[in-house]
Symmetry: C2
Subunit: 440 residues, 2 copies
């Protein structure tokens, strides 16, 4: 993509409304724009990151055997009256009355609707286990929307729902999602920690939150430092392996959010106890028959008995993750995108588009990247050199290649690695090699 054909409305100054780094940086980097309190438009750069996070999530859900569907944003109130949550949800639920005076609502979550789909279509244990997921916009009418997309009102969530014939199988489904979450956050360049968690309005008796550490996180968390080294347990495991063993090993180390923290218990741990802040990016629940009973979602089990199906639900905060990843990856100059979710792999900066040689070399590199499916943003604008370099740091792609009149004369170009802030000088030929080796 050439910058002059793109829409990247960067801002030099810190926007007044933003408190935390990710919010400041998303606004400054032209990734999003608020349309009204807690509701955002995603501009091109933000949309690309959102898509990458969504795709990584979907691929791992598919790997784990979940099947994608798409439920609507607007739901009928009847289902929530059936489950008993219509009143409970209170003011956070955006309630709507349509032209025929029918009560609707903007779904804050989908347990009721998925249970309705299940009961309309599945009657036998033979069709189980089943895990259905979707990625859809949700709405929670927060008292105080803040922190940009981290705590917006309209937000994108991946939510999966598992259906099983009994508790044992339901735990197996839960375990698959536990493992999937450890894998998928890693694939976004993050280091997730799973923690015992409260179940809140979703309910149930078994629940874990997936937390990424960040000074600006809203959750107060306690965990055994050894957990930071346990990710590889999940990297190697396949979904058909013994997941319980792996999860037991992981959860034998202490980790709890504030609500579940038991100081006495945490004092007996072997490793070092860390108390810090974190951002919740995923949450999984087993809640058995909590929804299937009131909604009458029954199946005939292996013994010919009619039972309410066992369920769990599994959420990933897709839009929140964009902010979360920035909270965990930035410096004073801007964002430092992990390769896995970066909107573009490289800023190709033509310092002087009026210089024919600069433009020739830039175009050559640009075409080369395109041929090799490397997503580059060619800065062909007429901004000042200082401004170009500052913008490249702000938008934070992993690599910057700088083409200037001096370099053209001496066949020496700068490659800057955003993360380490190191610079390599390279001839044009070496540059092609470097691109192939590091950016594909």
């Amino acid at each position: 993509m050439k910058l002059t054909n793109y829409f990247l409305p960067v801002k030099k100054d810190k926007p007044k409304e933003a408190e935390i780094p990710s919010h400041v940086l998303m606004l400054r980097a032209g990734m999003c724009q608020q349309s009204t309190s807690g509701i955002y438009s995603w501009l091109p750069l933000g949309k690309k990151v959102l898509d990458k996070i969504e795709n990584i999530t979907k691929v791992e859900m598919n790997n784990a055997g979940a099947v994608e569907i798409l439920m609507p944003t607007i739901q009928p109130s009847e289902l929530w009256i059936e489950s008993g949550r219509y009143q409970d949800y209170g003011k956070e639920m955006l309630r709507i009355v349509d032209r025929n005076k029918k009560e609707l609502l903007y779904g804050p979550t989908n347990e009721e609707l998925i249970t309705d789909i299940f009961r309309n279509n599945i009657q036998s244990y033979k069709d189980l286990p089943l895990n259905l997921y979707h990625v859809q916009w949700k709405f929670r009418d927060e008292v105080r929307p803040r922190f940009g997309v981290m705590r917006g009102r309209e937000f994108l969530m991946k939510d999966a729902y598992s259906f099983d014939t009994n508790l044992d199988n339901a735990i197996k489904s839960y375990n698959k999602m536990f493992v999937a979450y450890m894998k998928l956050f890693k694939k976004m360049g993050l280091r997730p920690i799973a923690m015992k968690a409260d179940t809140g309005p979703i309910g149930g008796d078994l629940s874990h939150e997936f937390i990424i550490l960040s000074k600006t996180g809203e959750s107060n968390v306690y965990f055994d430092k050894s957990l930071l080294e346990m990710q590889e347990l999940f990297d190697k495991i396949n979904y058909n392996d013994n997941l319980q063993e792996c999860i037991d090993k992981y959860t034998s180390f202490y980790a709890a959010t504030e609500e579940k923290h038991i100081p006495k218990e945490s004092k007996n741990i072997l490793g070092e106890l860390i108390n810090t802040k974190g951002i919740e990016v995923g949450h999984i629940f087993h809640f058995g028959q909590k929804y299937s009973e009131p909604l009458n979602a029954t199946i005939t089990n292996e013994n010919g008995k009619n039972i309410s199906v066992y369920m769990g639900s599994y959420g990933v905060g897709v839009s929140r993750l964009v902010g979360g990843i920035i909270e965990a990856n930035h410096d004073s100059k801007g964002i430092i995108w992990p390769k896995e979710v970066t909107p573009f792999m490289c800023s190709l900066i033509n310092l002087n588009p009026d210089n024919k040689e600069c433009t020739k070399i830039s175009t050559k590199l640009y075409e080369y990247c395109k041929e090799n499916n490397i997503d580059v943003l060619l800065d062909d604008s007429k901004e000042s050199i200082g401004s170009k370099l500052a913008i490249a740091d702000l938008i934070g792609f992993p690599f910057q290649i700088i083409i200037g009149p001096k370099g053209v004369k001496t066949d020496s170009y700068e490659i800057k690695i955003r993360k380490t802030d190191t610079t390599i000088n390279s001839s044009l030929n070496e540059l092609f090699n470097y691109i192939c080796k590091n950016m594909v």
Copy 2:
């Protein structure tokens, strides 16, 4: 995908609520399910088609130089009050009051919001032309939702918005979209016809509808038969060519929807006048300064003058197209998917999963397809043979491969082509070749 791991709740009987073939077939093929009047959940098979249509649309929008963003579903009322459409839109607009008594609405279209994004970020002609698009759910509170996803209340639309410095450039942007639409509908396996159209509540002075022909269409259309042969004008053209010439040639033939039809004019045409029914799948508008003036979206032009920006908007009915494509492609047995948008390329039907040889051959073919990135659905269920074959016809993938005990013994397998209802007998070796040649 193996059917036993999938969620494909097919129905044998015609659902009572459905009138037109696409609605009947989508419900019977387990593609979607209504949650409340005019609001649907997309089940796995339906979601796959929706994704394919969305992707084809996006690729062509990108080819035409448009840039993807994502605006939210919920909009503030202020912008609509500014444009003067808040009252005009009447009961079709889903109006919402949030917990702070603020008036919101579920966007039925996005002219106001995109104009707001534009005015907040762009001040100079130097940043134009610009075309921003998104694919997002919309809501229109129809008096009488019907025909399934063809006229639902919550529907998925691709809408693009162009911004230009003057009328000439705005027409160039309009022409690009005209050509893009002719290309993208073709890429969905359709034969679109562009027709002069009314502008309705969007406004403006130049507008075309893109129609696909169907007996069950809601639009009454009149056109010169020769237009059916004019698609190739657009197949060959590139976006940098002289588009006006190409469009002038195409639009010199008579084509108009009912509202724009002039019987006198249509009598003078050279070719045969066809009057039939069609489905509107796209609609493009040039409306100049209709929104930029009231919303004060101004730019400094080349002469240093402050002017209201020239705009157009361009919609593709993504969810409606799923129904539209089925209306144009089905028979008494079920859907006949065009290859371009089919959810799976092939039904691989194991007639007897209890037969070890059948299962061995089926698995071999299944793995082969997976390795070659051919999306197959392996029917490994224990349904009766008759039921399996009926389901394969109903869900309508382009190819069926039938593995039965007799065939295993004689090394002879049936390949059925859904569209022509022809059957080829083939050895296993020939089958691998056939798959490679026809399904990749």
